[in-house]
């Protein structure tokens, strides 16, 4: 039975945007009991499609052509009041960020109960009873406790379960999931995907699942629609598209999905350029009245990075890997242990440490000053170290060329570059001081897969040419396998397993490593 039908839908962008339409002539259909994955990179129009179906287009966007039908009923020309009655009851949505989608000052139980009180007019007792059974259904460990909890007291995965419970509360005909697992750790992601699949089967809901990750698609989709620049370029059965993609864009996207199998091991230099010995760091419980548990971010961490090699530090959020990166570059002081670079302890003085170790940051949008020219930001480190400004700027041009940017672009401002280009600027900035060690903190996790592959290739190329030693922090095991020689797996501030990456991934000894590898989405179908 057709639950949702979209025919030739076009959504117009406001004047002055980079293109005229957000989506053009999009035709999709969704049957009862089926999961349709809409895949595409950022800017492909997948989220706009979802917003149109919810009647939640951002101000300035308008439907220019096409029809949408919900179980045969035309959605065109609905008044805001009619949309309101539709949303939640017949079409529901799960968002990417469960923290921002929940009201932070309202208890979870009250927010959940609101669904029945507002839409069905149930009284409080009855609504709360339904809330409790809904939380049981999404397998929350302590449903009674969760009812009384505030959103910040739950973990990311638990919050997303609450969101799913809320979305399914009124048994909607269509459920739209907009990147619901992107903000979650791999193991949690695997659980949430299994939950969505299970609930969808039990209720026969039609699910439109928006994602950029082909691994997730392989895990959950019945059918797939691939979007590029606002158009659906290919759609069909999941197995068909994943194994025999017809459109070149789909093929490129699939090829960009990294595998978990590591490339052949390289011969590594025996001498260590970076040694971390017994490092520990605890975030103390502060404040007179607030009682908080001290958080042990690093507990006796020891690692060795060999000269010219790449060491991956992998782990889920809260494992202490980012704290480790910040300690190694001197942004954070450790409580105990030592950091030795090139045979000497990391100097306390910022300027001296800068020549030894540099960092590439995660967010290409936040890591560049929006009000200063790109070239100046690359040259400022050498200038502070005493290089004459003219020479430093000349060097910045050379570095721009080295990382694959136009040397003339040094005079542009950060907002004139795309995310991938900005990350290249970040890499050029880190290389400007010719450090012995490069620390890369999740450098590709904010980028689209195809851009991700390009940046990884750039890092590999730079390493070969300049003999860089890289400490590579990531939560994504597939990315680590692409680039790294060795791996250290962290969990709750401790290194639980370390070794050559091929060996660790092929035969993990620690159960945690094993669970991380098993949770990688799409391994079975993609076969990598």
């Amino acid at each position: 039975m057709r639950r949702l039908e979209i025919e030739g839908l076009s959504v117009r962008l406001p004047r002055g945007a980079d293109r005229a339409f957000a989506i053009e002539e999009v035709s999709l259909h969704l049957d009862a009991g089926e999961i349709l994955c809409v895949v595409g990179e950022s800017g492909s129009g997948k989220s706009v499609t979802a917003a149109a179906v919810m009647g939640l287009l951002a101000p300035g966007l308008s439907v220019a052509a096409g029809r949408m039908r919900l179980s045969g009923e035309d959605l065109g020309g609905k008044s805001p009041e009619e949309w309101r009655r539709l949303r939640g009851r017949r079409v529901a949505m799960v968002f990417q960020e469960p923290m921002t989608a929940l009201n932070p000052v309202m208890r979870v139980g009250a927010q959940l109960a609101e669904m029945w009180r507002v839409h069905l007019g149930l009284d409080r007792r009855e609504a709360e009873a339904r809330a409790l059974s809904a939380l049981r259904e999404v397998n929350l460990p302590d449903p009674e406790g969760a009812l009384r909890a505030f959103p910040h007291e739950l973990s990311g995965g638990q919050r997303q379960r609450v969101m799913i419970a809320m979305a399914l509360a009124l048994e909607p005909e269509v459920l739209i999931c907009d990147e619901p697992t992107t903000a979650l750790d791999v193991t949690t992601q695997a659980q949430v995907l299994a939950l969505i699949r299970d609930l969808q089967r039990r209720h026969g809901t039609a699910v439109m699942f928006i994602t950029h990750d082909f691994g997730v698609v392989a895990e959950i989709a019945d059918r797939v629609a691939v979007m590029q620049h606002g158009r659906v370029v290919e759609q069909g059965a999941a197995r068909e598209i994943l194994t025999r993609p017809a459109h070149p864009y789909t093929r490129a996207l699939l090829a960009a999905v990294p595998g978990v199998a590591a490339p052949a091991p390289r011969l590594l230099s025996p001498d260590a350029v970076l040694e971390v010995r017994g490092l520990s760091k605890t975030y103390a419980a502060r404040g007179l009245f607030r009682r908080r548990r001290p958080v042990r971010a690093l507990a006796d961490v020891s690692l060795t990075l060999r000269r010219g090699a790449t060491l991956a530090v992998v782990g889920e959020s809260g494992s202490g890997k980012s704290t480790l990166a910040r300690c190694v570059v001197g942004l954070l002081g450790a409580d105990g242990g030592e950091i030795v670079i090139g045979g000497a302890p990391l100097p306390r003085r910022r300027r001296e440490a800068a020549r030894l170790v540099q960092m590439v940051f995660q967010d290409p949008y936040a890591s560049l000053n929006p009000r200063r020219r790109a070239g100046a930001q690359v040259a400022q480190g050498p200038i502070a170290a005493g290089v004459p400004p003219g020479k430093a700027l000349e060097e910045a041009r050379r570095l721009f060329a080295l990382v694959g940017l136009d040397p003339a672009a040094v005079t542009r401002f950060p907002h004139e570059f795309s995310g991938g280009q900005r990350q290249r600027i970040g890499i050029a900035r880190a290389l400007a001081l010719q450090p012995q060690v490069l620390v890369a903190d999740e450098p590709v996790s904010a980028l689209d897969v195809s851009v991700q592959a390009q940046v990884l290739a750039l890092l590999r190329d730079l390493q070969a040419r300049l003999g860089l030693s890289i400490l590579f922090i990531t939560h994504d095991l597939r990315v680590a396998a692409q680039l790294c020689d060795e791996v250290a797996v962290m969990r709750q501030g401790e290194v639980v397993e370390a070794g050559r990456i091929g060996e660790v991934f092929a035969a993990p000894r620690h159960p945690y490593t094993r669970s991380l590898i098993e949770a990688i989405p799409g391994r079975a179908l993609l076969g990598r």
Binding site: L331, F361, A366, L368, R371, Q377, Q380
Partner: protein
């Protein structure tokens, strides 16, 4: 450039700019239209506006030309507004930047000082300063600046607190740049827009504070400020109300102009807040 275009498109900003330009015009041409001392005796006291073609706005209780005082007063009011605002903004930014950037006990210390200033009503503090240091126009201006900086400091500090943890600031730390560079080149330019907008409020308040002092006859009596003129009219308020009303309207319009410019700046510099309107 984009901010400038947004500014020129907003009607309140244009009206405000026009009013301020008019006041500036008065200040600039005062010497030309009224070359004589505005505080000198000009004619019979308390002539109504229009009664004598020589005095289009009439004369005050001492027989001085109100129009001349209004023109020359524009200079004084603008000067006080600008200089006092500059003092307040400089102190406020310095305090707020250091407190917000370093945090910890530096922040605690500086913020306690700021709060100490804020707990006293600023007009009362101003009265004390003027009582102690005298009521010369320079003293009054500096004193107004000294009582107006705490909100600027708090605003700057709040901006610094969020900006200093941003990745681009950390990236600069890793590059070995000095704290002075981080504060002045990286954080401050990003923290400035709301402070600039707030400066318009400080300027409006500074002009009002001077008028209030003058009304109490505690400002410099030897300069032709608008406040002084209002103060002079106080004794004849019931019969010759125009003596106080004319400079009052001038103050009202000037402050309206400053506020409108501030609002226009706010819309131009924070486009996301403006689009909802």
């Amino acid at each position: 450039m984009r901010a400038l275009r947004a500014y020129l498109r907003s009607p309140p900003a244009l009206i405000g700019s026009a009013i301020l330009l008019a006041v500036l015009f008065m200040a600039a041409t005062a010497q030309w239209f009224y070359p004589n001392d505005p505080l000198g005796l000009a004619g019979r006291p308390l002539q109504w506006p229009g009664a004598n073609p020589r005095f289009p706005l009439g004369t005050d209780p001492s027989g001085r030309d109100i129009a001349a005082q209004l023109f020359h007063g524009a200079r004084v009011s603008l000067l006080i507004g600008i200089v006092a605002t500059a003092i307040a903004v400089l102190i406020g930014i310095a305090m707020g930047a250091v407190a917000g950037f370093y945090g910890g006990w530096v922040d605690t210390g500086l913020m306690r000082v700021t709060e100490a200033f804020q707990t006293l009503p600023n007009f009362l503090l101003l009265l004390v300063l003027v009582a102690v240091f005298g009521s010369g126009i320079e003293t009054v201006t500096v004193a107004i600046g000294l009582v107006s900086w705490p909100p600027v400091a708090r605003l700057t500090r709040a901006e610094f607190l969020t900006l200093r943890t941003r990745e681009f600031v950390q990236a600069c730390r890793v590059q070995g740049l000095s704290d002075a560079h981080l504060i002045l080149r990286e954080v401050l330019p990003n923290a400035l827009p709301p402070v600039i907008v707030y400066a318009s409020v400080v300027m409006a308040v500074a002009i009002l504070l001077e008028s209030a002092l003058a009304f109490l006859q505690l400002s410099d009596p030897n300069v032709p400020s608008w406040g002084n003129l209002i103060g002079l009219g106080r004794n004849v308020l019931r019969t010759e109300w125009y003596v106080s009303a004319i400079p009052g309207v001038a103050i009202l319009l000037t402050i309206l102009g400053v506020s409108l410019v501030g609002q226009g700046l706010n819309d131009a510099l924070n486009p996301r807040l403006a689009s909802g309107r």
